[in-house]
Symmetry: C2
Subunit: 200 residues, 2 copies
Amino acid sequence: MASSDPLARLVQQLAKLPGIGERTALRLAFHIMRAPEAYAQALSAAVLEVKSKLVECEQCCQLTESSPCPLCADARRDGRTVLVVAGQQDLMAIERTGSYRGQYHVLHGLLSPLDGIGPDELKIQPLLARLGKSDSEIEEVILATSPNVEGDATALYLAKLIRPLGPRVTRIASGVPIGGELEYADGVTLGRAIEGRREL
Amino acid sequence: MASSDPLARLVQQLAKLPGIGERTALRLAFHIMRAPEAYAQALSAAVLEVKSKLVECEQCCQLTESSPCPLCADARRDGRTVLVVAGQQDLMAIERTGSYRGQYHVLHGLLSPLDGIGPDELKIQPLLARLGKSDSEIEEVILATSPNVEGDATALYLAKLIRPLGPRVTRIASGVPIGGELEYADGVTLGRAIEGRREL
């Protein structure tokens, strides 16, 4: 076999990334091989750094350089609402909209019994502890999990646990996307949109 | 902005890889962030290693752990034919078929004047030097560049330079792929297939 060992090892590591198959891994590996030395060093360092320098925020559980994270430490943010997301990508997507100014909580996953992900695999206890604190000023918990099987199940599960602690529990709306065409929306989305209709 | 710096840096480095956009880079970065520490270390090391441990084979110009590479050093391979490929991926694809037992030469690219890739950017001189050696036993040079504009141009250019040196110059066949359906083959492929017809 012509493949030299360092190449095979890099391909093997790259192929473990989500959505990267053997062929793509090989293409990426060849790119790295041909790229300037400085690029390989920067990439290599960035990979290590993301593990070594990031810690979990003691309050919202997102991975951050400092704990509490800049979002939790920001006194201008509204501490009366907590928006619960499955992952940090979701948090970033919501932050980009600029339409939410409260606090966050990152679950690091969704309930998925078939994949072996139960409540203990998620950051649910830290959320409950946060809500149960005597000095908690949280009045509303917004469950912003995706409107799919896992997201719905997780939201229902959390709602049942949170309600006894006092805060109002809400769920983000789902329906026809803005700019979307009714005729192209799938049946479930349309059904949800009608169910969730509001007085004008 | 919620993005912590190490994450942004990793995304930036990953997004430089071919076919990896910002969104994919973010997804990969989050995967690395959540993966065990050992994975980040293995990936990081593999990236560095592929640059530091690989050298260019003095004969065929492929990147390898030792020069001459295992293929060039293998005395059981037929030294009378040299198969010229654009990249190492092509070499590996041909090796996998097991249908070629001669030597190789890797150009590290194809002529593409619009992208600023001229003859000097490719490993053409080492190939000519190899063919011009007084003790060269090379009788045939097989040009195995892809049958597209760059591949054809490179093959024609090389043929013109190699013929005066003595060896027979051939080009791999192009036509309807084995297992392919005539009715689905594009016109150019069909045209080439007819042009390249052979006596049975």
